[in-house]
């Protein structure tokens, strides 16, 4: 069936598109274009890698302070090839900055920013700024110590601009401090705004590159017309570009694989913690130079210079290069002033970066020495009396235990004065809750308690668990003394008569109450009996103090408002019998 005249055939748009692509690739190149001209192509390739791996990371990433770190950890440790994908995203970002530097230097040395290509340079500068924006916003997203403190400093630098600074700071952070309001906005900028701008910028840049053609090397401005253009881009220059991409790709895979195996240190640091004072903030390496300016310039106006004036001037100068440099020559030999200034700028950036890195290293070393000295001092303080075998008085032990508790940062998981939180026991009344002997043994070797191992049987990981701090006997004694002293006689009234051994009849009555009358074993396991929905009671007599058992049976909600244990309203003498029975389980 013939189509009406003028009607395009169904395949026509596709054919036109393919033809346009071929025409785009069929650019004719001037002579002396070769391996030096591959870096733009490599950048395009690395950007495509970023788009792909960025999409993959976004499949799991969750921009919330409660889950960002956990989601990145999930990607890093549990998603199939997750460590490699994340490593590629990180290393590709670094390679982009390096390649960008080489690309800018190449264009500068070849004088390719001169008319008619002045706006090609400007669009390239825009892309460079976008890359720095990507780096700055992406750095925060893992929400580990490094990203938290790096961004803390970074936003402050942006916020110290004279006049508008406080507004910039508040806008960047979304609130008064770095936190839940900041993370989604950095994420949105990183994955929505910047990619859209980047797409437009790359299109503009490529359009100009193709429109004006590759600069014929070393030809004066205005004398391009006579240069023959014979060799087509595809496949001759395309093959070189492609080979360079392959090299970049091999490098990228190697770096990402090494990183995911921990060759460059842990790929993910500890979770962001604003209260951490033992950390030297380190921005991403390409901001180290800028950070170093803050160190070497004096307080007051010097800081304004470092944070605002110098960076702003540098950007303006960079963008304005083609408009300031009116020399029609392209050969570096005939552009001594431009080459000297360019070299000086490059040298300044490189040496500032190296100096910044050295300074951060120095501070990290100093911090480590301080921490080691503090630890040695604490050790010496606690060790010395023990060596003399002098029996320590209780108050000293308790005080040493308290400082140890702070050192070990127990309060990161345990509440110290409130009710238990998130399934982690509170330490507010630990002395009323558990027996001292058990506590000492547990602190020395904190195996998981039985009802947590039931989670393991179901193939789930316990969400929280007690780390093994490898305490010495002394340290365990101090900590035990301190915790055993934490009693709350109002919440858990002492029951001295329950400490005494009971007659077998009471234990037998208690057993009947626990197993049959009140059926505690619906939720608790005792030996082979019952389900480990709540804590396992098989050895509760070793662990729980009778006072505590008495209090929790009497009214569980009084100890923990959110507990799922039910108040079964036992009569007073029934409680006593039940406690006698439970205390006998050893």
């Amino acid at each position: 069936m013939a189509l009406p005249a003028g009607e395009p055939t169904p395949g026509a748009p596709l054919r036109r598109f393919v033809a346009a692509v071929w025409e785009f690739l069929d650019e004719r190149m001037p002579p002396h274009v070769g391996w030096t001209h591959v870096f733009g192509g490599v950048l395009l390739f690395l950007l495509a890698i970023q788009a792909l791996t960025g999409f993959l990371l976004a499949l799991y990433y969750s921009p919330s302070t409660a889950t960002a770190y956990e989601s990145v950890k999930y990607i890093q440790e549990r998603a199939v090839f997750g460590g490699l994908i994340r490593g590629m995203h990180r290393w590709s970002a670094n390679l982009i900055i390096v390649t960008l530097g080489i690309h800018v230097a190449r264009v500068f040395i070849w004088g390719a920013y001169k008319p008619p290509r002045r706006w090609t340079w400007v669009s390239g500068c825009l892309l460079l700024l976008l890359m720095l924006g990507f780096g700055f916003t992406g750095y925060l997203l893992p929400w580990d110590l490094k990203s938290y403190f790096g961004t803390e400093v970074g936003t402050h630098i942006a916020g110290s601009a004279p006049g508008v600074g406080p507004y910039v700071l508040a806008w960047l952070r979304g609130g008064s401090q770095l936190g839940q309001l900041t993370l989604p906005r950095f994420y949105a900028i990183h994955v929505l705004l910047l990619p859209a701008l980047l797409l437009a910028g790359v299109a503009w840049h490529l359009w100009q590159v193709r429109g004006h053609g590759i600069t014929p090397p070393w030809v004066r401005v205005g004398e391009e017309r006579g240069v023959p253009r014979v060799e087509p881009f595809f496949p001759f220059q395309a093959a070189r570009d492609n080979a360079a991409m392959l090299v970049a790709f091999a490098l990228l895979i190697a770096l990402a694989a090494l990183e995911s195996r921990g060759y460059f240190g842990p790929p993910l640091g500890d979770k962001a913690d604003p209260s951490n004072a033992d950390y030297v903030p380190r921005p991403d390496w390409y901001f180290l130079g800028l950070q170093h300016l803050l160190r070497i310039l004096p307080a007051g106006f010097g800081q304004v210079l470092a944070t605002s004036v110098i960076p702003t001037l540098a950007v303006i100068l960079l963008v304005a290069v083609p408009f300031l440099d009116r020399n029609p020559e392209r050969s570096p030999k005939r552009r001594p002033v431009a080459m000297a200034l360019g070299a000086a700028a490059a040298l300044a950036i490189v040496s500032l970066t190296f100096a910044g890195n050295r300074a951060v290293r120095r501070e990290e070393r100093a911090l480590n020495q301080r921490l080691a000295a503090a630890k040695a001092k604490a050790k010496a303080k606690t060790k010395a009396p023990a060596a003399e075998a002098v029996p320590r008085n209780q108050a000293e032990l308790i005080a040493a235990g308290e400082s140890l508790l702070e050192q070990l940062k127990c309060a990161r998981c345990h509440s110290l004065d409130g009710p238990p939180e998130g399934g982690v026991p509170t330490l507010a009344w630990e002395g009323s809750r558990v027996r001292e002997g058990w506590l000492r043994a547990y602190l020395k070797n904190p195996t998981r308690i039985h009802w947590e191992t039931d989670l393991k049987r179901q193939g789930k990981r316990p969400r929280v668990r007690m780390p093994d701090f490898e305490l010495s006997d002394d340290e365990a004694n101090q900590l035990t003394a301190f915790l055993a002293d934490k009693k709350d006689a109002e919440l858990i009234p002492p029951q001295p008569e329950l400490e005494e051994s009971a007659d077998p009849a009471a234990i037998e009555r208690g057993e009947k109450l626990v197993h049959e009358t009140y059926r505690c074993i619906v939720c608790h396991r005792i030996g082979e009996d019952g389900t480990a929905f709540g804590p396992d009671l098989t050895h509760i007599g070793l662990r729980g103090r009778p006072d505590f058992l008495h209090a929790i049976i009497q009214n569980p909600q009084r100890l923990d408002r959110r507990t799922r244990m039910k108040n079964l309203h036992l009569k007073p003498d029934e409680i006593v019998d039940a406690v006698r029975y439970l205390s006998s389980l050893k």
């Binding site: 998603a79 199939v80 595809f234």
Partner: protein
């Protein structure tokens, strides 16, 4: 030089195939993570004492909540089910998920039917599909009685 041109074109194709091939392995592995990782067998949870749930002529709704490990967070999932009397007077537990497209059905006491709000599916009190598009009766959840508590298995992959 058409031969050099051709060779270079092949070289480009080869290099890109190499990049694409190497890249495809981690990318597909990563994307298919949910299919490659074993999902949990489902948790057994107690919905009450079995004797409390016995008797009654109409399906009885029980609400429950449980913790579900969803990768990097543990979330509290809420759900409900209907307890009905089996022929041997043992309780059976019906999932309220319509077997057609997975909407939640609810018991309508006046019409003595489970009604699905989405596409008009209807089930009898014992879960048989009697009207509308559902292809099979309501699913029964695995149950067992442990220490007097009626336990059901939730969250299993079906």
């Amino acid at each position: 030089m058409p031969t050099r041109r051709r060779a270079l074109t092949l070289l480009i194709a080869g290099m890109n195939a190499l990049i694409g091939g190497i890249l495809a392995v981690p990318v597909f592995g990563y994307v298919l993570t949910p299919l490659l990782r074993k999902s949990g067998a489902g948790a057994w949870i107690s919905i009450g004492l079995a004797e409390d749930l016995q008797g009654g002529t109409e399906p009885r709704r029980v609400d429950f909540r449980y913790k579900n490990d969803s990768g990097y967070t543990v979330e509290t999932v809420t759900g409900y089910a209907y307890v009905i009397q089996g022929e041997d007077s043992a309780p059976r537990v019906l999932s309220p998920i319509c077997t057609h497209m997975g909407c939640n059905v609810a018991w309508n006491g006046e019409r003595k039917r489970f009604l699905c709000p989405c596409h008009g599916g209807q089930y009898t009190a014992d879960g048989r599909n009697v009207a509308g598009p559902p292809p099979r009766p309501l699913d029964q959840l695995p149950t067992r009685v442990e220490n007097g508590a009626l336990m059901i298995q939730v969250g299993a992959q079906t």
